[in-house]
Structures are given as C-alpha cells and as structure tokens.
Symmetry: C2
Subunit: 137 residues, 2 copies
DNA sequence: GTATATGCAAAAGCTTTGCGGGTTC
DNA sequence: GAACCCGCAAAGCTTTTGCATATAC
C-alpha cells in the first residue's frame, strides 16, 4: 500500500475513493499544486467535485499527512511532507525550487530559544533569480 | 514630514489624503494589520472606502514602501519595512513577534548561490510556543 | 490642466458549508 | 449498522475592477 495511505490508516482517516485519488496525485506530484490544480489532475482519473477536494485536503492537512503552504500569500498549495525543506521562488519563471534544511535548523532554534520560545516549526521562503551562465564568474 | 511620506515623494507616489491616512496608521501600528483592520483604524480619522484601502496598499507595496505578508496563508498583512526582520507566530496566543535578521542573511545567501541563484529577498517564518518561567531550567 | 486617484457597487476568485443520499469500517 | 463522507449548489470572505467624479501635482 502506498506510503500515505498507510499513514491514513494509522491516524484514522477513512480511505475513500476521493481520498485515495488525491493521495495518488500528491505522491506523483513533483511540484506544489494548489487545490484547483489537484482537482484538475484528479479529473483525469475520476470525477470528483471541487468541494470534496477541499474537504479531503483539509482533512489530510489536519491529520498532518499533507502540508499547506501559501507562497507570497497566494492560494493554498499542498505537498506531502518528506524531510524538512524550504522554498525558493524564481521571480522570472515562478518556478518553485526546494531547498534542503541544511544548517538553518540549528541557527533558528538557537535564536528562538534566546527569545524565550520553544521551536515548533519554521519555513524559509526565498525570492531569487537564476544566474545565467553568461553572468557566472 | 513623516518618513514614509518622504519615500512616497521620492518614488513618485501621489500623496493623497487616503494615502497619508493609511501611512499614518501603518507608522503607528505596533502589529501587522490586515487590510480590513487598517480600514477600521482609518475610519477613526476619515471615511475612506475599503476598495481605496486596497488600492493604496497595493500601490505602496508595489513601490516598496510597505511589505506584504501572509502568515500561514491567511489574509494579507502589511507593515513598514524597517530593518530586515522575520516573524515568529506564537501558537498559543496568535501573537506575532519580530525576529531580527541576525545571521540568517549570510547563511541563506550562501545556500542560494550554491543552487545557482542570486538572492533577492527572503522571509523566515517560525511557529513556536512561549516557554513559561516554571519550565525554564 | 492633465493624468491619476477615489467612491460606489458589482464582480471575481478561492474556500467553506448545509442538506439529502451514499460509502466505509 | 453507525458514523462519516460525497455531490451539488449556495453562500462567505477577501480582493479586484469599471465608471463617473474629484484631486494632486
């Protein structure tokens, strides 16, 4: 059984057809699709209403099986959490590149503790532009 | 003249009454108000329509005089950019605490360059909970 | 004086929700 | 069999926009 479906069972999320179909789309996704894009991809397999897509996505996010993002405050986007990572938005193309956690974690944890808080989660969101080969040193 | 009004002149943004009033609210704000909250505060001084509030805020953000945020994908929030800083959302209270840039900049710049990009901007958004005095070592 | 901003109200997204019938465990 | 989920369609929210008028430079 696919990894995310197992998670659903463990956490008591019912494995309905819409749920399975959405999970399939998410597992195959190489990007960070929004609800409407997920709806579009789901239609290729089975007709499921947009309202249900939203309900399924919210259920999965509430169970911690998916993660919600909102880059630059645009519409919600979803992905399966793998290792902790962050996002770079390319201003020229709008493409979203993943950045590994690397050493951010330690630095942020220290800073947060200094302020008297305990770190629960964090996101780094970078805006950048690709350096073309000609510009490279 | 207030600091932000000077910036408007320099960047060719017309100093209309709605614009001045919004800038006043932002300069006095100790928090990160959303458009509707700004509208509410503006009403205490002068009747200005919500549509105009949005247009003014977008104009100011486009000119780089204000910064837009959308914490956890909720509605847009605005603030005057001072020094570069980031945000910690307290899960218990919803309060937003500012975090100084500190050493984030250097680390992120290096990481982004390694991926072949030039850093334009970045945000760090932390979720955390306050450590109560009793829990402190 | 001219280009641009505002007010008003309507519209345009995105997301949620109420209800009756269907599905999962 | 009980609880929960789905489809549909309507409503809710935030944000944008068209048009006639008013305002800043």
């Amino acid at each position: 059984m696919p990894r995310l479906e197992t998670l659903c069972q463990e956490r008591g999320v019912k494995l309905t057809k819409p749920c399975r179909t959405v999970l399939g789309v998410i597992e195959r996704a190489r990007d960070h699709p929004c609800a409407q894009e997920i709806h579009r991809r789901v239609q290729e397999e089975r007709p499921i209403s947009l309202g249900t897509i939203y309900r399924v996505l919210n259920r999965l996010a509430a169970a911690g099986i998916l993660t919600r993002h909102a880059f630059n405050g645009s519409r919600m986007r979803f992905e399966a959490p793998s290792h902790r990572h962050h996002h770079l938005v390319d201003v020229r193309t709008g493409q979203i590149v993943e950045i590994d956690d690397g050493e951010f974690m330690l630095l942020i944890e220290q800073t947060v503790e200094r302020l008297g808080y305990r770190l629960i989660d964090f996101k780094v969101e970078v805006t950048a532009e690709r350096v073309t080969p000609a510009e490279r040193p």
